[in-house]
Amino acid sequence: MFKDLNPILHSQLRLAVISILISVKEAEFTYLREKTDATAGNLSVQINKLKEAGYIDVTKSFKDNYPQTICKITPQGIQAFEEYVRDLQAYLNIKK
């Protein structure tokens, strides 16, 4: 039997966000919105879910008088992502 896929990560937008954050040190909210083609509201909700799960850190500040939100993956997020990919590979191997 394969393990159930992590429901927090097994969602299109949240997985897209975590996949971007795994490859960089940090990313601005506007960058995540641009890359995922999501609406600001929708992205905000999904980012909050990832934050509540402890997978990402969100820092709010100001840049040139504009609000700036920076997202960064946490060690817990990295571990969850790695486990998710392992589970996914196991799941795909069993299905073959």
Binding site: Q12, L13, A16, S19, V24, Y31, K35
Partner: protein, 198 residues
């Protein structure tokens, strides 16, 4: 992108790969810094060489002060790029450390050579030029800079045998191969990438 779309295993893997790929395209170097330093160093060394063999203008060595002046556009480029950047990578932190320590080492060498003149000046500068260039090429798997770093070390050895003012031509060659040519390649890649996904 929908928020809770049910995905198959293959779709998940494809999404992960495509997001990582898209992000990777965004950490392309603009090439401006490499172009700036490649042009300034090769121009100064070539002009100094021509002055030694043909022009004979007194106090022409002051042309090297252009390298200090080039710090101003470098700072402007760095600030602009940092402002425009929406992501930070781990790599840029390491690379920044290497290039800043290189700049400090070159700055100190100027003082050392002003006090203790050495016939191996060009060799020492070139050996130093090779270090951050090779490190950048190695970490980014960017062959033109790997070759550039090795070329600097090759020119460093060559400069020990050709004698002054030919050593200046070794510096010109090193700066062109290590920075100017890779800078042109990086610039072209950067502009092409910008054009393909505005």
């Amino acid at each position: 992108m929908e928020q809770e779309k049910e995905m198959t295993g293959h779709e998940s893997l494809e999404l992960i790969a495509s997001m990582i790929q898209r992000t990777r395209r965004d950490y392309l170097d603009s090439g401006l810094s490499a172009l700036l330093w490649g042009s300034v160093i090769s121009f100064c060394s070539l002009a100094a060489y021509l002055n030694q063999v043909a022009w004979h203008i007194p106090r022409f060595d002051y042309i090297w002060f252009l390298t200090f002046a080039a710090v101003i556009p470098q700072v402007i480029i760095a600030v602009r790029e940092a402002k425009a950047r929406k992501i930070k990578t781990y790599e840029e932190g390491y690379m920044g450390g290497i290039w800043i320590s290189f700049a400090i080492a070159v700055f100190l060498l100027n003082f050392i050579f002003a006090r203790y003149n050495s016939e191996a000046q060009a060799a020492i500068y070139l050996m130093l030029y090779g270090v951050p260039t090779f490190a950048t090429g190695y970490s980014r798997r960017f062959a033109p800079m790997l070759i550039g770093g090795i070329a600097c070390w090759g020119f460093a050895v060559l400069s020990l045998y050709v004698g002054y003012p030919n050593t200046l031509l070794c510096i010109t060659g090193g700066a062109l191969i290590a920075w100017f040519i890779p800078g042109l390649i990086l610039r072209r890649r950067y502009l092409n990438a910008k054009k393909t996904h505005v």
